[in-house]
Symmetry: C2
Subunit: 666 residues, 2 copies
């Protein structure tokens, strides 16, 4: 049916083009002459087995040379440890930003400054060279992405990274002082006052051992509120604090917006406090943590939490201020709402009025009304308390609606037409359904109703929509982040790519249309955010020659052309080198074995894209030095010999000649 | 002109569709109804500013869901240190294969076996965590890609890697025993008897220091012939040898084929033996190495070299057999041919008759006739000798033709229609020109003539064509590997992506058509090879449960479901664990601080794509365990505490519950 209608459209295209160009030479279609076969749409479509719908999808995603994508998608690189930047709708990978994993193309983890950023994320001296990136969060102003920063957590080691979108480089990694695992991060408050990091698997806090038998007493969850200083472009650990949470496995998080601004919502599972041990006859976690029909949505009053922190009502744990469970109860900071079943996603609607909860084992989404939650808390109308004294609100007291969508609902995003979209993992589908309430009423649709589903391939986790978790969503495109590929792509061995599928959701009255399959040949993206590309105001080249990206200011080690030098002082050799198409100055650097070498290189180019590399064989050094940048490497010249250094970034016709000799005398 | 013709074709499409579907409901094109706006080709093209030529290009590259690409491109990942696998014509990145740089998604560099492969590539105990991958070479049978293996060199540290295309995993890294830098690698002989690795920057061989003043006496180039054992899937260093070469900077390499099989050709530059030192008033390398009008094509008789090696006419250097320059001269193994100017690419034509030389500073390609070279060598008709006694053939004696193509010619590939294609770096174009000789004569074209050029964006280095350096090239597609992007893509900061452009070269009588821009957001691809996708016979899942990819056989540490165990013996704890959707057995592993932990995990799944991950926080461990695979990690439990391990590869609805606790008692 759908295909047919598109075919009719194609007829219209032909007719219209016929009218437009009728005067240009009827019958000329036969004169293939110089173009030969394969150059016309008809024979291409026939030869490649494309349907009319395929042609429309191709036209919707194809990006002619030099045209720019309308959106940029910031996607987690999963266990690659990196951040992916992808153009939408062309679905082309524009950049892999080095975050937790060293990446030599960018020199990430090879220069002095980038080694330092990575080292800051190392727990107690343990070097980590990977991360499990999960949830990128673009910085927001007034609940909308502002294009200035992006944050991303490492679930595997409980860390948060700050990436500056002026140069798309990671500037900071903070290690959580309490937990080894996070999942409820990163999410930001509507003006990026805080970057939120919530734990996943409960554990005795950092450095402590406690028997699994003491789980209820000794194991804990947490949420950390990292204070962000936009001007400095850094998280300020000294102005940050955490809250102790029960040893449920806290999961996804969202910050309130508009009416619910100042509140934080965190899902949890394993409120059974199952501790595994299938080898001893216990139920495995997958069963043990899925026994109860309800777990707890954590509702946190951020203003009260902040007040408690500022009033010093905290306890220092591992040197970090923590609001204990007892204080949490006393100060009425935390309340629970029962939520069904094996909950995963919690997503606040654009108007801030509703929380959409997905339980992996419940075919419904459950919508809570924030005003009702607030009233129940104010009226202290509780249905009970949990083992740790946290008040539990009555499910029916705060419920707005349950909408049956299908099997395995996970995550929800929003569009400007009053629709919500929820991924259905077990069905491999995405459901479109209507919101209710004042904001959605203007669309004059039946509220809280399933409208349509689109099949994806296969096993969708998160979905991302254009500005789809903002107060003003853009709609148009939905990207489905699929966990399995199975038969979708050419065989590249037993480890298959994950994949993204692009879906056109621009028509509020028509079906959703699957447009494009994008394999992800690196890592497993967990979540992504899609921002209007024109909000990104990145630099083409660094603002002035001699720029230090670590401080975003001029480096004291910058050098001008003609001022290059080598300074020796005892066992220390310091080099100030320039790089320009197509030579380094100096070209010969001689030291003695055992010398400490401090080597500054300034790329004195001002032309866009005139990046130079710099590598030294056998010393495990590679730098990317972008136009205007000054970089430093430090090492001890342990190995004698002659080491030809060269430019690793193809810069000119005589790029191969951009080389020199590093001579280490025995 | 071109656009117009395509427009006429579009008219034809419309007319034909009109005829085909006329009976289905004329005038229905107006009933947009349920489809709404934006769903038909015309309005999509208009809204997105697509020309008819764009629509044809879109149709030629678009891949509908579940359809497979016709070709796979194996591209170097440049200084990312990895290998990229890309579908053609869709230009989608299917896999980043970990080679020289640890990559956690694949567990590459985290498991015991993969750590071992990386360590084998470390020179004298220096840990290297990156590479500058340059030239991938698919294994060949009879001069055609056979789809079994791919090799790739690390220019920055002179190493060669072997990747098995049964599972797309790196199996071996060999470190060159002589040089720190290679560029003339990897290339294979027509039946993959040898993998060729030639040096780039001359230097005193490994571990020696020699003053730059002694350049002519002490610095050397080399070529290494690595013997490949196809059955073992490994390079056999004990059956490999090298040749000493003068301290010119050897560059690209190609192996002879058909009539020239048994010969190797290596370009060189800096036969001036310039040693740089711009800081001391010397000419910089870019000028010093570009003074002479001619450098030397190295013509090596591989049969004679092999005979000399087998006869023991070698000298051991760093424990490796090397044919010295003196022996080379005596045994008549090496001859030179003068080649203009700043030579870069040397490419043997499909019939093996001709060598195409590109000099970066000469607007021609220079074609040498192999038969003439062979005759001159047999007749000992020399024009002179170089400083090292190597005989030099007369340029005019072996020249077939020079064809003027344009500025900055670099690399040449071939198609089945008698055309050669050469990248022009300075013009940012690719030239199509005709070959001559018996093989090309059947195409009845004027031989040795420039036909056409296509513009690319910008600064093309290598080009790759479908099976374009085989004895039977496929043609159809050409990929241009571009070094600069400048204005082609959305702004992602000062470090821009390199990019590939796909060009349709299928029409021997029409123009070449630029089809697609693919940004490469990781590393700088140097070279690529494109193989028919159906030649790759990779495994969907490992052949049996308990497979060890390091030996491609069943692991002695494999475990069946129900046989999982933990064995303690003194300070050693050995674990045999199984992984299956969605739990590990055992789920709790307890050790004492300081214990040596040996942990084997078998993924007992048989379903395609049912991969499980395994990570331990703060221990810097992440594994990818594909269906059937057994992996081992070994470490000392240095840190006390409770470490929640979990599956990092989203495997099922209860994937988050696939976790356990690793408890380390103080």
């Amino acid at each position: 049916m759908f295909l047919f209608t598109v075919r009719f459209k194609l007829i219209a295209v032909g007719v219209i083009l016929l009218l437009l160009f009728a005067g240009c030479g009827n019958g000329n279609s036969g004169q293939s002459g110089s173009l030969g076969s394969g150059q016309d749409l008809e024979s291409v479509a026939k030869a490649r087995g494309l349907t009319p719908a395929d042609l429309v999808a191709a036209a919707k995603t194809y990006m002619p040379t030099g045209k720019y994508d309308e959106y940029l998608m910031f996607a987690s690189g999963g266990h690659s440890g990196q951040l992916l930047v992808i153009g939408v709708p062309s679905m082309r990978l524009l950049k892999v930003v080095g975050v937790y994993t060293p990446e030599p193309w960018q020199g990430w983890g090879f220069s002095k400054d980038t080694k330092k950023v990575l080292a800051e994320g190392n727990p107690r001296g343990q070097e980590l060279s990977w991360g499990d990136t999960h949830h990128p969060a673009l910085s927001e102003t007034g609940g909308n992405y502002d294009g200035e920063f992006v944050f991303i957590n490492d679930k595997a080691n409980a860390r948060v990274a700050v990436i500056d979108l002026k140069d798309f480089e990671t500037k900071q990694i903070v290690k959580n002082p309490l937990s080894y695992s996070d999942h409820g991060g990163t999410f930001v408050t509507p003006n990026t006052e805080y970057v939120i990091e919530g734990s996943q698997y409960a554990m005795p806090w950092s450095g402590q051992y406690a028997s699994i038998e003491k789980y209820k007493e000794k194991y804990r969850g947490m949420v950390t509120l990292w204070k962000f200083d936009r001007k400095k472009g850094r998280i300020i650990p000294e102005q940050s604090f955490a809250m102790e949470l029960p040893p449920y496995w806290q999961d996804l998080t969202d910050a309130g917006k508009l009416v619910s601004e100042g509140w934080i919502f965190i899902n949890s599972f394993n409120t059974e406090m199952s501790t595994g041990g299938v080898e001893d006859g216990n139920p495995p976690f997958e069963a043990g943590a899925s026994q109860r029909d309800m777990d707890y949505l954590h509702v946190i009053n951020l203003k009260k939490a902040e007040a408690a922190y500022k009033a010093g009502k905290t306890k220092k744990i591992n040197g970090f201020p923590v609001i204990t469970l007892a204080t949490t109860v006393k100060e009425k900071i935390l309340h629970f709402v029962p939520e069904p079943k094996s909950p995963h996603g919690v997503d606040v609607t654009p108007d801030g009025n509703f929380l959409v909860i997905s339980g992996k084992l419940d075919p419904h989404v459950t919508i809570f009304n924030f005003t009702k939650i607030k009233q129940a808390i104010e009226n202290e109308k509780f249905a009970g308390k949990d083992d740790y004294g946290i008040p539990i609100l009555g499910f029916d007291d705060v419920l707005e609606k349950q909408v049956e969508l299908g099997l395995g609902p996970l995550h929800t995003q929003f569009d400007p037409n009053g629709f919500a979209y929820t991924s259905l993992f077990l069905e491999s589908k995405v459901a479109r359904w209507t919101l209710g309430g004042p904001w959605a009423e203007k669309h004059k649709k039946q509220p809280w109703a399933l409208v349509d589903k689109v099949s994806i391939h296969y096993n969708v986790g998160h979905i991302a929509m254009a500005e789809g978790d903002n107060v003003e969503p853009d709609g148009k495109y939905l990207v489905s982040l699929n966990k399995w590929a199975i038969d979708r792509f050419s065989n590249v061995g037993p480890l298959l790519p994950q994949n993204f599928q692009l879906v056109d959701v621009s028509d509020p009255d028509g079906p959703m249309q699957l447009l494009y399959d994008m394999p992800i040949g690196i890592g497993e993206p967990h979540y992504a955010q899609i921002i209007k590309a024109d909000k990104i105001k990145a630099w083409d080249v660094y603002p002035e020659v001699g720029w230090d990206p670590a401080t975003q200011s001029k480096s004291k080690n910058a050098i001008q052309a003609g001022k290059e030098k080598i300074k020796r002082s005892g066992k220390k050799v310091e080099i100030w080198m320039s790089a320009v198409r197509s030579h380094y100055t100096p070209e010969r650097v001689q030291v003695k074995r055992g010398d400490k070498v401090i080597w500054h290189i300034t790329n004195i180019e001002r032309a866009k894209d005139a990046t130079h590399g710099f590598c030294i064989p056998h010393y495990n050094i590679n730098l990317s030095i972008e136009p205007g940048e000054t970089q430093t490497i430090e090492f001890v010249a342990k190995k004698a010999g002659v080491f030809p250094f060269y430019c690793t970034e193809f810069c000119s016709a005589l790029h191969l000649e951009m080389a020199g000799y590093f001579l280490v005398k025995p």
